[in-house]
């Protein structure tokens, strides 16, 4: 497949990933059009993180094909990475640098000019000189969000956005997901907070043992979950 403006943002066919003898992902077919908010739901170990990491190109698929922005990730990983952002379980920051220093380094590496303080303000963090090591888990999570925003991705892959956040943080994530979509960003979210996230997403897929067991409107995912785990 060649790059095309009309291609879906994500097009995966029989995407599979094996760890040793265990298939963490098994023949997942997925198509995500531009601007959609897709929710990935599943129990622990169902393959949510593996799917997000494979889509981000952080790890390669064992089998199947994956095209992002119409480009084959096996041959265009660098071009794909330049247009997506991953917020993973790990904050991907330097704990001995301050929040501002972290964002400055990432922006300079990307060649982006301009102040980084607005990104910190947007995620509700103060500009302070102390290292991230002194931040709480929730503050570190917010800094990871700031890093994602500073990247200005066209595709945002977000693993457990509500993890480590307090109730105020939950509301912040809701607003952020809405803002990202308003800005035209395609968002794929993996979350355990099904009741909360389903109201914010357009479509959902339910993973079980690495396979897509159900897909449909996000608002209905709770019912599908109950049927699967009955």
């Amino acid at each position: 497949m060649t790059p095309s403006a009309t291609s879906p943002v994500v097009h995966a066919q029989k995407l599979s990933r094996r760890y040793g003898a265990r298939w963490a992902l098994a023949e997942v077919d997925l198509e995500v059009p531009a601007g959609e908010r897709l929710l990935i739901v599943g129990a622990n170990g169902s393959g949510k993180t593996t799917l997000l990491r494979t889509l981000s190109t952080a790890q390669s698929a064992s089998l199947g094909s994956l095209h992002i922005f119409g480009m084959d990730v096996r041959t265009h990983a660098v071009q794909v990475r330049a247009r997506l952002g991953l917020l993973s379980h790990l904050p991907q920051i330097y704990r001995d640098l301050s929040g501002v220093e972290n964002l400055r380094i990432f922006n300079r590496l990307l060649g982006i000019q301009g102040p980084v303080e607005p990104y910190l303000e947007r995620v509700g963090l103060e500009v302070r000189p102390d290292p991230v090591r002194t931040y709480s888990a929730g503050m570190t999570k917010r800094l990871s969000f700031a890093r994602l925003l500073a990247q200005k991705p066209e595709l945002a892959l977000i693993d457990e956005p509500y993890g480590q956040l307090d109730p105020a943080g939950f509301a912040f994530v809701d607003t952020l997901l809405q803002d990202l979509t308003d800005e035209g960003v395609t968002v794929i979210v993996a979350s355990h907070q099904v009741d909360r996230a389903r109201h914010l997403c357009d479509r959902a897929i339910l993973l079980h043992q690495g396979q897509v067991r159900w897909q449909g409107p996000a608002i209905d995912v709770g019912r599908a979950w109950d049927v699967l785990h009955a």
Partner: protein, 236 residues
Amino acid sequence: MPESTSAERNIPHWLIQTWQILVKDLVLGWRTRAKVVAMVVFAGTMLLLFSFAIGPNNTLLAKHAAGYVWLSALLSSTLLLSQSFQVEGESGALEGLLLLPVDPRAIFYGKALANWVVLSLLTGLVLVGGFFLFSVEIQAHPLRFVSILLLGSAGISAPGTLYSALTARAQAQQLMLPVLLFPLVIPCMLAAVKATGFLIQGDPMDQGGSWTMLLICFNLIYWALGGVLFGKVVDE
């Protein structure tokens, strides 16, 4: 999209990224300087142990001073090198860099250069301390010592950075790194010890030049190999 100044447009982007990684690593090194101090103390302890092992024989100590100094630098370098990728791994920062995407060559050269700077300072301190401790009288011009010091340190830094990345996810990194690195840097250590030895004891047959050339060749090979292989090493 990335914006850049007109001056930066003439420089390959991966070189700019190399500079950013170098600066970042030096800043991180300064923030965690207690670890560097521990490394210097470890190297000093090694020198003392060598002198205790040989006993109060000044002639023998001075004769083998170059070997003791470089061995101390090599042994303590593993502390620095293993730390180099620990800091990248603890919060998934290396994965973050690769996904930005930062050119793997830039990560390798940035980190190897930062390690070289710190290791050169360490080796310089060990050299001065060792010469003082072993009562070495320097015959040659100090700049010649500096050039051997820089070449020897670079010869540890390049393969050391590569192997540090390779062993970063190993459970026993502190063990794996020296096991892999030490056999590899034998030619570099041999050349550094010989070249330093000739500078200390005099070089009437002009043999130091060939050992210096070996150091240069070793560096050219491993600095080039590191840039080529690093992408494969950190892939996934």
